[in-house]
């Protein structure tokens, strides 16, 4: 059991986390923008998350918290 939580308002939409995710479960939210005007990322299949924190490691803006 693992999960990631995105602080969407801090996300700048650089998507470095997407390239780092070994499970390729991070996607761009198509339905919303944050206050900065960026489309944040989201994980729709959280059950596939292994809590490896690679996404968070590459995030320049401390958007991601990881639980395991």
């Amino acid at each position: 059991m693992a999960k990631v939580v995105f602080n969407e308002e801090k996300c700048k939409g650089c998507y470095l986390c997407m390239t780092a995710c070994p499970k390729k479960i991070i996607t761009v939210a198509k339905d919303r923008m944050n206050a900065k005007g960026f489309r944040p990322v989201e994980v729709l299949e959280m059950d596939k998350c292994i809590g490896c924190a690679m996404c968070a490691t590459m995030c320049p803006d401390c958007v991601i918290e990881v639980f395991r």
Binding site: P60, C62, V66
Partner: protein, 247 residues
């Protein structure tokens, strides 16, 4: 479930001003994580430079002092000589450290000044809008090398880690990169070791971090990481350039 990753305590809870995908943010976080893990936030004094990271004083919870462009090692020297038991570090870009502040950098190393320098090398001047940096690669197009940097007329890129590793006063110098998870992990290890070098009173330490500038490179953040890997790392090989900490 246990939280295994969160914003480090020593990092202020503010939005960093950097462009989306700029790896400054990663390095800021790594420094903060090291301040947390070594429990030195309360005894650290950071020196913020002029350059893209000019607002660095707002990002760490430790005391911060500004420096003029290139002078951070001199300012850090002044602070350290007053407070030898405190931890003093600078955070500088390539224009700052390797061009206008070369003398200050070299002599801080020569003195074995017991400070830590985090040196961001992204091969371009970010703050002023993408001019040629001392570390701009041969052939690299910038605003002031519009036909690509030609070493015959514009000189060669400067390899600071190699150069400083020849100084007697440098205790620990490593070049790292933040282009991928593995390298980010290695970068943090290097930064931690640099601070530990200072805590042990062993002298000058510097970590050169190969970093991206997607905006001025004209690349997406993901492309920028690839460009760094393919172009910068071959010219600026990663690794430990000097390590006298075991002596």
């Amino acid at each position: 479930m246990e939280q295994v990753f969160k914003k480090p305590e020593a990092l202020c809870d503010v939005n960093l001003h950097y462009c989306p995908g700029c790896t400054h943010g990663i390095v800021h976080r790594l420094v903060a994580e090291v301040l947390d893990e070594l429990e030195i936030e309360g005894k650290a004094i950071g020196v913020a430079p002029v350059g893209c990271s000019v607002f660095a004083y707002d990002y760490w919870k430790c005391d911060m002092q500004q420096a003029a462009h290139g002078r951070a090692p001199a300012v850090a020297t002044g602070i350290k000589r007053v407070l030898p038991d405190k931890v003093v570090f600078t955070y500088q870009g390539d224009g700052d450290l390797a061009s206008i502040g070369t003398a200050e950098t070299v002599h801080a190393a020569m003195r074995g000044e017991n400070i830590t320098i985090i040196f961001i090398n992204n091969a371009i001047y970010g703050m002023t809008g993408g001019q040629m940096a001392p570390t701009t690669l041969p052939g690299q197009v910038t605003q002031t090398s519009p036909y690509g940097r030609d070493p015959k007329t514009q000189g060669y890129p400067i390899r600071m880690s190699e150069m400083l590793s020849k100084t007697d006063g440098a205790a620990y110098i490593e070049r790292v990169s933040v282009d991928c998870v593995k390298n980010v992990v290695a970068a943090k290890k290097a930064i931690k070791k640099a601070f530990q070098t200072q805590l042990d009173g062993k002298g000058f330490s510097m970590v050169e971090v190969l970093s991206t500038c997607p905006t001025n490179w004209g690349k997406s953040p993901v492309e920028a990481l690839e460009w760094l890997r393919e172009n910068m790392i071959p010219y600026y090989p990663l690794g430990v350039y000097t390590d006298k900490t075991g002596e």
